[in-house]
Symmetry: C2
């Protein structure tokens, strides 16, 4: 619409120089190629007054770079949980002068193919394959056309691609340590365990959370006081499991729930059996689901760092692009999961006090 864009040729003509000269001046190579100060000034002023902006498409045709990245997600952009991931990615891209194509596959292979082709046809400088939930995923073909990074996902089979994922192993360690520090020795697991690899199929997070937990418990000379490897991690599952571990002869006093929805069910079970959180039952969990802040008391949980994940993926990818890296490596970048301390774990003092009261 409206007026034609001002091109470099327009600027050159108006300034009375050759297009090549204008290009050199405006790309900062004026001194290097001995363009006089007077001409440089004239070109710059002309460009300014005409409102010249270089056509990136054209630059890209020649240089092979488009200052553009493509983000292909399964369903990330639309879901609240991971919307922050997109936001982090957008921010980081913007800071580096990249623009982001975004596409959603809804898990459909053909849609993924179409999006990927569309992005590659538009000469994106890099591709981000994002997932809503941390998972392993197969890699589509054609990724040799542009640097690629996996966001919240790991390659299903070894591939020379970097990945950015939450540091679930570390979160598992810290969850266990948190309960140990609060004075608990008998720690139940809800969702996975008791042995490494005892997790529902297909979950990446579960494996690592469990590994971290077991590492710390064993380091303290402990085993889980109990563990339920549940195939589904929804509130009703948590409720059932909660009833179970609270009804036994030695009712649970501390539990690590493998996600917040399980914890939500555990809260209900505690409430129904007259237990108070955290006095009678300490709960720590993972995800920082929106509901975690709404529970009474607030749920202490390790958050999935969506924003940081998105940001980091773009940072790494942009760097690879800028360095013109041809060779990628299968590195895994783990992003710390921040602890949201709310009220579902009491401090050691409180636990101590309770033990004393119980002893009276």
């Amino acid at each position: 619409m409206g007026r034609r864009r001002i091109t470099l040729a327009d600027v050159a003509r108006a300034a009375g120089v050759a297009p090549a000269t204008a290009s050199l001046v405006l790309s900062g190579r004026g001194d290097e190629l001995r363009i006089s100060e007077a001409v440089q000034l004239r070109v710059r002023e002309t460009a300014e007054s005409l409102g010249y902006r270089p056509n990136i498409v054209s630059q890209g045709l020649r240089s092979g770079s488009s200052r553009t990245l493509g983000l292909v997600s399964d369903t990330v952009a639309t879901s609240q949980l991971a919307g922050d991931m997109i936001k982090g990615a957008l921010e980081a891209a913007n800071e580096r002068g990249f623009l982001l194509f975004i596409g959603e596959t809804e898990g459909d292979k053909a849609a993924e193919r179409r999006l990927l082709d569309g992005m590659l046809d538009r000469q994106v400088d890099g591709i981000i394959l994002a997932s809503m939930f941390t998972r392993t995923r197969p890699l589509p073909a054609g990724l040799d056309q542009a640097p690629t990074i996996l966001l919240n996902a790991l390659p299903a089979r070894p591939a020379p691609l970097p990945s950015v994922v939450p540091d679930e192993l570390d979160a598992g360690r810290r969850a266990a340590q948190l309960l140990l520090d609060a004075g608990h020795r008998r720690i139940h697991l809800m969702g996975a365990g008791p042995r490494p690899g005892d997790v529902p199929p297909g979950t990446v997070a579960g494996v690592e959370r469990l590994a971290g937990i077991l590492e710390v418990l064993r380091g303290a000379g402990l085993e889980p006081a109990g563990a339920l490897n549940l195939s589904s991690w929804e509130p009703p599952d948590g409720w059932r499991a909660g009833r179970e571990i609270l009804a036994s002869e030695e009712p649970a006093e501390a539990v690590i729930c493998f996600n917040d929805r399980l914890a939500f069910g555990a809260y209900q079970a505690a409430q129904e059996t007259g237990r108070r959180v955290p006095e009678d039952l300490a709960i720590v969990s993972f995800d920082d689901h929106p509901l975690a802040a709404w529970l009474r008391p607030g749920l202490t949980t390790f958050a999935i760092p969506h924003h940081a994940l998105g940001r980091r993926a773009v940072e790494l990818l942009a760097e690879a692009v800028s360095n013109g890296e041809q060779q990628r490596e299968a590195s895994v970048h783990r992003i710390a999961m921040p602890l949201r301390e709310r009220g579902s774990v009491a401090s050691a003092d409180q636990v101590q006090g309770r033990a004393e009261r119980a002893a009276q």
Copy 2:
């Protein structure tokens, strides 16, 4: 990375023809320009076997079109409420072979300028200016470079741009009609009114909802039984207003809340004063906020059609782009707000029954 892309020249060379020939064949103009069937077949097979895909950037340089749209939102992409808007836009874009640049401004003018320039520099075919909440917004400069459409927003001052917004006027009408149909004659308004324009400043939706409501009430020979023009539409405001209208000599029996958060407060007020919804107090509202489905009984409300809004904006923009429209008009496209009938309004039968019981 990896292998260089196959170009048209590669195909031409492999097929033993000139690039021009290959181009004609592959763009379907082979017959028109009398390329023999044999050559056409050869070119097509060669392209196929080499996996040739045209470089859209290059096509764009020549044709001026990039098959790309830019969506600039204030904070839409990241927020759950309006994530569906993005999703609808992505879907519609994909169906039409467009890819979407997405950017968020966080309400910052400079960021908006940067994003817009970045998109225009990349030769987007069209621009979508999206807003999280329906509002009027000033227009940045430079929109004459590409067809533009406003999504969930209206231009602050008259401009030759189409807009896509929810049909709040119609929803207002239907909300009033819904209560009339249920047998109510004394209808309270919570949030705006009683006279046209009695709304908190800066709200677009309020004006139209109110106009629609008043139109229907007056058509039935009625005025609102009461109306509170509230400057804030949060749950506490709804709670206070609810206490007020339920405490009067003739307590309210039906209320139209100007949004779901107000309605949420009204529920609380009803509960505390021993009123049942919908038997003692019928409530209808707007937005279909996630909490609307969680209330007991479920809140009957008119949903903001985010998905349809996003889809429609892209449809209109893509059409304008395809038709090469130079001239835009200041049309406003109103998208119907679907009624989510839950349980907060009783049918006329039930209301009738209640009246009879009361008369006994």
